[in-house]
Assembly symmetry: C2
Homo-oligomer: 462 residues x 2
């Protein structure tokens, strides 16, 4: 875990303000249900890759307040009786979720918390903070991988990441389709094999580019990837790389790759490929980097750029240009009674009630449609092919241990293979068929009618 102290303070003040209110009113124990969902797929796409679940469940299982936290909360005005409650706080509820790495769609209930109201409420910030971000980045990585047409994508983004956000960004990138990351910290935490060779400063610190390349090759031998653009990619970089490639051959080794990091990557990759091939270095891979995103990758791939590996940084780890997912965590039931916020914005209206998702397949084994259905009606769906929300945490304890990130990534890959091609268009939003069963719609309509008159006409009891 990254945050292993003060987890309970990793929240917005209003969660604690409301929690204290529920506690003081004796309402905190009412059984409540909250749904997490998003309203719009990120990046104008059709889908998202659900990520962050294991990190989140770990935090929830360990969510508590130590004496230092309690002291801080006292200082900012919380009351002693509520603080006594917080001292012993543990999440005791149940959680249902779609699998981490799942391909998911707007308005689907993805993560559902059943718990005493106060416990369910107090988790809001951490649920949104983790799921919104990791889902955003995993989705961005998936889009880049789709654009690469099977070429390798590697995350190089930590230097421009949003501070410590880089820790989960690199991991989520791997879930979504990046082969690996340059981020050593995340690699250690999440069992990945980090990648990376040299920056321009390596080359500049030597008297000549050739000397810099050869020294590196002497040390790293067949793990050598040479950065070509410190002086001039074609007039200097690739020529020195050829010399070092030949030198490595003389040692019985092979130059692994060269990296292009500026200029016209299409022209440069073609020219470098030609020079390498003409010199018998057809096996040397070309890595390209420099502000790549799915559109730039697609353009290069479509135009036949002979690039083997795309090194992607900023645009991946900050999830440009969206930079955030609009996921929300909403109360849908309390004391067994369905609840719903209506709104001056019609799109903010919710689907009430305790729901699950059934996924149907077409005759080719591809995703055909999803149906959002009341949990209590699940058993009526005889034809149900796949139920997406499953228990992941029971009475406050995780049901499964953390999955290796590589396994989550494999799952995401296998699910993306079942996503029809028209939904993988990176330029256009295509709508996947997500239906809401009548039982949910009827419930919603009856609630809208009954809620419309929310103003209490009785006189103030002041």
């Amino acid at each position: 875990m990254i945050i292993d102290r003060h987890i309970g303070l990793y929240t917005d003040l209003y969660e604690l303000t409301m929690a204290q209110g529920f506690y003081l009113m004796g309402q905190g124990d009412k059984p409540a249900v909250f749904d997490y969902f998003f309203r719009k797929s990120p990046f104008g796409g059709s889908f998202a890759i659900f990520a962050g679940l294991d990190d989140l469940l770990e935090l929830i299982e360990n969510f508590r307040y130590d004496s230092e936290d309690i002291e801080y909360l006292r200082k900012i005005g919380f009351r002693q009786d509520f603080l006594n409650y917080l001292k012993n706080f543990r999440f005791t509820g149940d959680i249902y979720s779609v699998a981490e790495g799942e391909v998911v769609f707007p308005y689907e209930p993805l993560f559902r918390v059943h718990a005493p109201l106060i416990e369910a409420q107090i988790l809001e910030t951490i649920v949104l903070n983790i799921l919104n971000f990791e889902t955003l980045i995993a989705t961005k990585a998936a889009r880049m991988k789709i654009a690469s047409k099977g070429k390798m994508v590697i995350d190089f983004g930590l230097r421009r990441a949003q501070g410590l956000g880089g820790i989960h960004a690199s991991k989520a990138a791997v879930i979504g389709g990046a082969e690996t990351t340059s981020n050593v910290y995340s690699s250690m935490l999440f069992g990945l094999t980090p990648a990376g060779t040299m920056a321009h400063s390596w080359i500049q610190s030597f008297d000549s580019e050739y000397e810099a390349f050869k020294t590196f090759a002497d040390i790293y031998q067949d793990k050598t990837v040479l950065l070509l653009d410190t002086y001039d990619t074609l007039k200097s970089g690739v020529l020195n790389a050829v010399k070092v490639g030949k030198y490595l051959e003389s040692l019985g080794k092979r130059l692994l790759g060269v990296r292009l990091d500026s200029g016209d990557l299409l022209t440069l990759s073609k020219a470098c490929r030609k020079i390498l091939d003409e010199n018998g270095l057809g096996y040397v891979k070309i890595v390209a980097s420099n502000m790549l995103d799915e559109y730039r990758i697609d353009d290069l791939v479509q135009k036949g750029a002979p690039i083997d590996i795309f090194g992607v940084g900023t645009n991946l780890v900050v999830g440009r240009s969206d930079a955030a997912l609009d996921g929300v965590y909403k109360l849908i039931s309390i004391d067994g009674v369905p609840k719903m916020k209506i709104s001056n914005d019609p799109e903010k209206i919710l689907l009430p009630g305790v729901k699950n998702i059934i996924r149907y397949y077409d005759e080719n084994g591809l995703f055909k449609k999803d149906l959002v259905v009341l949990e209590e009606k699940l058993k009526d769906q005889g034809e149900a092919e796949e139920i997406l929300l499953k228990p992941v945490l029971s009475s406050g304890k995780r049901i499964h241990t953390r999955k290796p990130v590589k396994r989550i990534a494999e799952y995401a890959k296998s699910r993306l293979e079942k996503l029809p091609d028209y939904l993988k268009n990176i330029y256009k939003t295509q709508v996947y068929n997500v239906s809401v069963c009548n039982s949910v719609l009827n419930l919603r309509n009856s609630m809208i009618k009954s809620l419309a008159g929310g103003f209490d006409e009785s006189s103030s009891d002041s």
Copy 2:
């Protein structure tokens, strides 16, 4: 400190790969100088607010490798002799920097590291990760504060922040001009007073909106801010708020505020203001939130929306739409010899040599121009009004302790007051006069000539 373990692993693999190379070649001790700077102000603006310095210096002072880290690095292939070196790694160099909270401009050298090559190199990732992000967010907050024309801006963004990036985002937001934050964790770490009252779930958990409002008011009394849009802002929310306002008056208290979180904020704020005023509640503040940014705030302010406090979330803490700053950390001198990367992209060419910034003021005490000058020529600038880079870390030790964030924020505010108005235009990039003295330009030109032939024509020594 947030990361208090494995700090040395919070880096890209290539830093360690190069560090090992320098070490094995016996080059690690060469004195080197690196500059941090950015090439373009974020958000199409004219300036940036430099932030992250204290966090960064703390990490640098504590940058090291414990036995677990060493074991991990061994596992991924690093060599024993280099690992023995890392075991005792401490940063021993000197650092010069502009003050945290300073108003800064593109291409200015903001943060300069003098250290043995290996130490200076190994810091690259952490320097960029921290300074790029905090500077981005502080700048975004400053733009929102400028647009608000002196109204209050509060950060509510943790729920949509980039994971743990939210920790420093909230702090940087305060440096840039946000009054405070909803983020309890960051408030504790950085000595802020968090803000926040209720979400829709509070209201939904009661049988009526009025009951929800009154219960909250009973508990929080004159700290009460009521969220109006759960059912219908004008037909229900504000009317119930008036009743509760009157109720609080009967207790000798005052309703603090109401919050609008959806719909047309201009129309709703005007209508609510009118209703509140007509009921003698002219003192009740109006808070507005819902995907605000500097443009939306400016529009509301220009149109006379009677909003007292802008609650900003996503767009602030992720620094939309840029979401990243392009700051770089480049080798500028080694063994006393100026160094420079040229490039196929002309804009990537550097300013070589050890430099400082002199800031000049106009007759009204406003910033007039900055001059980038070689450090060695500083003493020749008799008219120097202000030298921006000062020592902040000497022989690996910080010169000053951490400043309170509120003091950094005050400094930023005082500096923004000295920034001429034309540079505060949020819609248009205006160019501030940053001149580079001839000594730097001459050095650069002579280096470009000498570097152009980087390809070593001598035959490979294979």
